[in-house]
Symmetry: C2
Subunit: 835 residues, 2 copies
Amino acid sequence: MPKSFMSMDGNTATAHVAYAFTEVACIYPITPSSPMAESIDAWATQGRKNIFNSKVKVVEMQAEGGAAGAVHGALQGGALASTFTASQGLLLMIPNLYKWAGELLPGVLHVSARSLAGRSLSIFGDHQDIYACRQTGVCMIASHSVQEAMDLAGVAHLSAIKGSLPFIHFFDGFRTSHEIQKVEVMDYDYLKSLVDWDAVAHFKAKALNPHNNPVARGGAENDDIYFPAREAQNRYYEAIPDIVAGYMEEISKHTGRQYAPFTYYGSPTAENIIIAMGSVTETIKETIDTLNAQGKNVGLIKVHLYRPFSAKYLKKVLPATVRKIAVLDRTIEAGAREPLYLDVVGALKDCKDLQIIGGRYGLSSRNTAPNQIKAVYDELEKDVMKDPFTIGINDDVYHLSLDLDPDFQNKHDYTSCLFFGLGSDGTVSANKSSIKIIGDNTEQYAQAYFQYDSKKAGGVTRSHLRFGPTPIRSTYYIEDADFISCSLDEYCYKYDMVRQLKKGGTFLLNTTYKPEELEEKLPSTMLAELAQKNAKFYIIDATEIAKEIGMGRRTNTILQSAFFALNEQIMPYETSLKLMKEMAKKSYMKKGEEIVELNYKAIDMGKNGLVEIPVKPEWAELPMKSFMTESGDEYFDVHVQAINKLTSYDLPVSNFLKNGLEDGSLQPNVSFREKRTIAAQVPTWDPDKCIQCNFCAFVCPHAVIRPVLLTDEEIAAAPMEFKTAKAIGKGVENLKFRIQVSPANCTGCGLCVHECPGKAGQKALSLADIKTKIDQEPLADYLFKEVEPKKDIFSKTTVKGSQFLKPYFEVSGACPGCGETPYTKLASQFFGKDI
Amino acid sequence: MPKSFMSMDGNTATAHVAYAFTEVACIYPITPSSPMAESIDAWATQGRKNIFNSKVKVVEMQAEGGAAGAVHGALQGGALASTFTASQGLLLMIPNLYKWAGELLPGVLHVSARSLAGRSLSIFGDHQDIYACRQTGVCMIASHSVQEAMDLAGVAHLSAIKGSLPFIHFFDGFRTSHEIQKVEVMDYDYLKSLVDWDAVAHFKAKALNPHNNPVARGGAENDDIYFPAREAQNRYYEAIPDIVAGYMEEISKHTGRQYAPFTYYGSPTAENIIIAMGSVTETIKETIDTLNAQGKNVGLIKVHLYRPFSAKYLKKVLPATVRKIAVLDRTIEAGAREPLYLDVVGALKDCKDLQIIGGRYGLSSRNTAPNQIKAVYDELEKDVMKDPFTIGINDDVYHLSLDLDPDFQNKHDYTSCLFFGLGSDGTVSANKSSIKIIGDNTEQYAQAYFQYDSKKAGGVTRSHLRFGPTPIRSTYYIEDADFISCSLDEYCYKYDMVRQLKKGGTFLLNTTYKPEELEEKLPSTMLAELAQKNAKFYIIDATEIAKEIGMGRRTNTILQSAFFALNEQIMPYETSLKLMKEMAKKSYMKKGEEIVELNYKAIDMGKNGLVEIPVKPEWAELPMKSFMTESGDEYFDVHVQAINKLTSYDLPVSNFLKNGLEDGSLQPNVSFREKRTIAAQVPTWDPDKCIQCNFCAFVCPHAVIRPVLLTDEEIAAAPMEFKTAKAIGKGVENLKFRIQVSPANCTGCGLCVHECPGKAGQKALSLADIKTKIDQEPLADYLFKEVEPKKDIFSKTTVKGSQFLKPYFEVSGACPGCGETPYTKLASQFFGKDI
């Protein structure tokens, strides 16, 4: 069979295999597992057939508890059923997992492992969720990369069927679930050939059915028989390691990639090894290659079958020379030692000459770089070792973290590219397209990882793309990019992007500045770094080009083309031009010939628009200034601003024992300091049309529109002149009214304009270019500041100057605009009828 | 302060202390934790004050997930909040437990630890549920007895407040939650004096409040800060062992009972020890005393602080002489080693000269007797030890179970009494009253444990009562009773009760047989055992006495009095008479003088009604017959009947690999063989009034009423003559109709009679004494047997003789009774409108 390669992420790879084995999928979406269920649903709608020659029946439930219960029911009804989840969703499935296992049902649950909500919530990846299921009796298989997800997802289904027990197949949320790799695709005919059809028949025959198999299940038992009945099931668990090992051996033969319940990598005579599971093992393997090439003698045991935890198979791959082991757990279990560590210590308790230590890493997608792995091996060489230890953070309180060598890097043969984009500006989509073009049309291996921000509107996205001649195992962020692209010139003032550029690398900036303005406009720190790194520097005004060719604000295709033009080591630009156009045709054909042509134009303009800016050596001497602006508020400056400036990775443990952060408290009244300035347009207020209803302020989701009442003295004290209207209403006759917007905090969503009733339907608010409004900011600062931050704005304070208007639903009387509609009637549009 | 003693169970002891520290209790009932919440609710209603001088606010939620969420909300609102749960309820709380812990909230959860539903459900006790929470970051304290629940429940609350972390306080479901012991009661003033009031003030000040403390909690975090922020909380966990140890030391001083995170019991120079937690440690302590008195040199480490698991405190109590450790876990984690075992191995990994093995015991309230504990110590003396092992079951498949010495018993100085009663016949209540009388009015210590059956109507109850001069630590069933009482003479034919009587013990039987009938009527096995054991044998006809004095069917007070009359070693009968009457007065005063007088009479008759039956030595030679009746159905005879006859404790592991039991399947069509004969009255059928509507058969919850159609040949072939009616309806004109009841399977609920419409409202069914109807059983056997057991009774079979009538809602046409109402209209009364 010819090998078939495709670029896809771990969710797609898993869904591809899960679909093959699934008759019923009971789903409920949760990040980062949702795309698995979505793929299954889409393929079912398209009529794809599974290996049983039927379409998957997809049932969406109302929560994950229901999804797990529906899987239980489907299995008892004789249908091979699956589900997909993560994190809190998985916690809700726990009671049902005990049932799946206790009733020996071959259900399969694919988990994109994710953090749990404790002190705070996080959508990112670690192993807290799957560890919370380790006691349920469900078997657990770990895939450590996208290719492994493709290769091992099937082992979970096949072993579940043959062994008559449920399986969780898990892999790292985001790192594996959303990482795009070029992988070999499993063929359904091949998967079908591996099925134990007798076991399928046995499973079907056992289904609850009042006609053919009138038995009851799920009964109640007393102290007399519950215990021996549970022990009776031991043989199912005893059989699993061999069943899984058998399937893994078969998959190894078929793919040429070696799998087993535990696999070993590194020196066969290693004295010091790591035991770990998940995507970190890819980085560890890469690091081992680097270290052993430097004369070290280290190794790694990868855990693929986590439950049942087989001491037999673990010992089978443990080199006799090993003396010290560091077990890495991607979790923290406060008040206890970590689970994989305990499993290993338990399994090897009779190896009295072994020393075993345990460490925590990578919580919530925390980056685990090669120098962290090196630090673990370095620790193992010491006579007195930290135990437990942490890596990847700066623990200045308990001193559990290992020191890192900042200069250590792994050898690699790939090109690395880093893209800074604005959430939903199309950067991520363009990069997904690029990786597909490269992965599917060249001999090169490709990897893409997208670092999202959980801020929805206008968060920063960082795309990490790597391309090279060998499979890419770098499951960590790019810190020394060959190429960096930035889609938004404002980021130059916010983020120290050039820090991540390697010496001699290329920096591409999309900007509306003219080449001659750059030296003056760009921060000196950036210029200095470009010079110190001897970088190549290009700019492009994709915004202007897009406008010119009629693509409006869509700059991503232009920037994608510019990327290919500047990276001809990946492929000749002629080739990429052709491939980009083919892809554009495929993507936009259904939108019409015109759109396709527009995209062709954009692609052509990518190279043409590039301007190389000579980097002056004297820039290297320019002053390096911080990207922070001191506000004087310690909490904001040290904590919030670090997060906003992406320097929060350096915050030490001690930071979280201050300002109430230890219990997850967040101080209020800081977002007004943030001033992200992400809106392209902000509202302007027309006092002549305003009816002072304050709808705009009520609907603003970010509270950046506020109605104020002012005395003449206050108006005089303002930093600038501004328009006001005479305040309408009883008791405010001598005051002035104004609607004030904070342009730098506005996200430009336009809700206020949409809701404005205005006089005779003429809206008092309209959107205008932010550049023309940003000069209002001093006034916003003045008027917003006048409000006591901690004052309850809903209390019935006396109306006087420089305060919010009382919420209008507390004011009785007619609408000050139309003079007829009572306030309460207007308010009910937003708050329901009971106001 | 004078010591105050009371008889109560573990739930009451815990609730007493929990009430003191609770401002808000968010509850949802689940066995066996419900009585805790019920007590809290009742006391709040009565206006009891907690140590904060307020009543507890009780909020009942709609499920345990909501209860845990409401606790979370209450804590964030600044109220000290508690809840109570077990088993599946605890599983639903898991997501919130992570939140309580992550946000450093001092909530307390009291758990009566219980099995989880897997292969089957069980309401009984083990540690599966609390182990499922070990990774949540909640601290965990274990109480091992009722007194410890009283002593340590407060440590959980106090430490939660001082340490600013949530606690689970757990104890064994049923064994501790429902065991009644005479315990020293904690005084609220004393508890109040232990509170860290600064910590309370700090907690209150931290409460979420938009006026005073406008902070947000529960935010989302990214990969940059989640990890160090979690690590920052380490110091809270590091502080807990010392905080708990401090409070335990204080409680030890106050009570004279020694507590610490881990405590040691036994020889200070022991080489072999057990580590365990829960009620089993009471039995282990008792066994250690017996063994060490016999020259052994063994010990025990009791775990009181399970999370954080402190290696420091564990090592502190570990004698230097110890070489071998057996860790007992009351759970099974399929595919892994058990949790306490792993914690211990991890904590002691540097003690290279220790050998540690682990075993499972007591799943789902499985009895753990002294000979099982001895077997563990015996195993530790072997060179090659089983690891893992089990105790208390007969594992003939994997051979993990340890062999038991059937003759080994612990020394003790108490009197043990065992009572067989019928569920809800008052035996348990009478025993609760007896234990209160003894515990609260004598210097004696008392213990009562009630073994329930999960069958609701007419299940057997076994009450295990012990009384003695020293605290009673026997947390296992009475197998060698000084006194056995049986409330129902039918049990003589069902259960081998005398097996559990010690030599020379007393057996009391409540029976309507006359003394002279006994030799003929009672089973020879029973007589033989009485003679072999040289027992004293008494009978009483409490049923007749009750009827005579006008107490109807209420025999329990008479039997209680008989118990005191036969056990004067507990207290002189004069004294118990007086105390029983005082108690009766207190209990029944509000029902009127007459009822009190009736009870006085019943109490007086207890002794007077006793008849001693001389046990003839020659009975010892009578044939010992099985209590089983072979039915020929292997599944019924070996499995179901063993459960019914209470011999199921002897079923080996291999039994559960047969007949589909391995996945929890239950074979249908066995209850008709069970013939419990528990109904006092059963329905009789009057063919003249019957309209053949079959309502009676439909409403019968136990399917013991069935309508049949018969041919004349079938009538002739029946084992006896019986009444029939002419069948009404199209196609059945030549058949006869009959409603047949199975008297031995009927529970006598009377629903059929209630629902019978009959002709002109005259019911065709009425209740009659079972003794007059039991002779119908051969006919029931004949008519019921004719139905193919596995045939779907709802299929549209052709109507012919000896079959069920088709369900009437499948028959069109008018009602055969009134000739008017269509069948479907009648059916809708039961099945809704859509039929």
